[in-house]
Subunit: 190 residues, 2 copies
DNA sequence: GATCATAATGTTAGTGACTAACATCTTAGT
DNA sequence: ACTAAGATGTTAGTCACTAACATTATGATC
């Protein structure tokens, strides 16, 4: 009998491939024709599936534009922070480290994604909703559900996002890590 | 000839009345049947108009649930802050004052609206988008478009929103101004 | 190797938000 | 009355998204 892990490796691999194909097709079309002028139907067709399959992989059209998975990285870095630091110090430190390494490795991809988000209102709105998940993740790692922690974490995450979007809006000409560092410093100065 | 002010008083008054009627009908239906189970068609019918007219007053269904106008109040308070304060102090001070007076005057309305936002994902997402406008307004009043100011303002506004939503989620049992004060204090302690 | 179960996909038909083009009606100024 | 303009209605469409059911592919079992 197939044990606990119910999905054989190759099966989930195939699903991952399909997911990647849909995502790639979507991003390509978004870039070529713009988000609004790209219908789900066309994305699905370009990926060789139908719209139903599309929605089985991505619950909304927005999700395919926002899909990334940086949370685990940030969470890992956060948990490695020394316990002598305050909540705010830990979160700022982890975000700075994580985003810096993402920046170094995927700068172009990040820039394109953020420019898309920046230019499409519905995506801009959705980004903040996605961040709520990030915040929840961070709070779980911190093991602190106090209102103060929630406020601090959401404030820092929001500030980071504002900075990233501003960086993208300016064409990515600046060094993102430096911008983040100066933003955090400004928050700290109060 | 009809001069500069092209819309006579009574005309805009009538429009305002229609707008208010649509809004009231919508909130009533949202409360009674839930946001998702309330169609725009039904709202329009309840307000004695058609869906086209609805969309002439509110660009989206979300907007009718989020329509408020607290920004001018906050902006006014912000501009009255002494210039000796830092950006963060000014913003925190203005938000605390403004939200406190809103709380004192419209507590029940605010609570109901935030509970609705809290319980409907699409509204939760949209709220953050609306806040971008608030942030822009505040930055204009501050006459400071630096990245640091943007980061600080968005951080503080996000923290405030998180606190308000948490307050509503907990049933509005706490004193909102106290929660805000302790949240701001936590941010300040860093 | 035929059978059978299951996961993935497709088909079809719907709902509902939102838009655009055009018609109608109301009211203000002449 | 006549006309221009602003507000509303009608109609027909697009598109995101859902649900019910049919189909196919593949793996396990006999």
């Amino acid at each position: 009998m197939t044990d606990g892990a119910e999905t054989p490796d190759w099966r989930s691999a195939k699903k991952a491939a399909t997911r990647a194909r849909i995502r790639a097709a979507a991003l390509e079309l978004f870039r070529r024709d713009g988000y609004d002028r790209t219908t789900v139907e066309r994305i699905a067709a370009a990926a060789g599936v139908t719209h139903t399959t599309f929605f089985r992989y991505f619950p909304t059209k927005e999700d395919v534009a926002l899909s990334d998975n940086y949370d685990p990285l940030i969470a890992g870095l956060l948990s490695a922070r020394p316990s002598t630091e305050s909540v705010a110090e830990k979160v700022c430190g982890a975000l700075l480290e994580g985003l810096t390494s993402i920046y170094l490795e995927f700068r172009d991809e990040l820039l394109e994604q953020m420019r898309l988000v920046q230019s499409v209102p519905v995506l801009r709105a959705r980004v903040w909703e996605v961040l709520v998940d990030t915040e929840r993740t961070l709070l779980e790692v911190l093991d602190d559900d106090s209102l103060e922690a929630r406020a601090v974490v959401s404030g820092i995450v929001a500030a980071s996002t504002t900075i990233i979007l501003a960086w993208a809006e300016a064409g990515g000409r600046d060094q993102l890590p430096e911008l983040l560092a100066s933003g955090f410093a400004a928050l700290r100065r109060f």
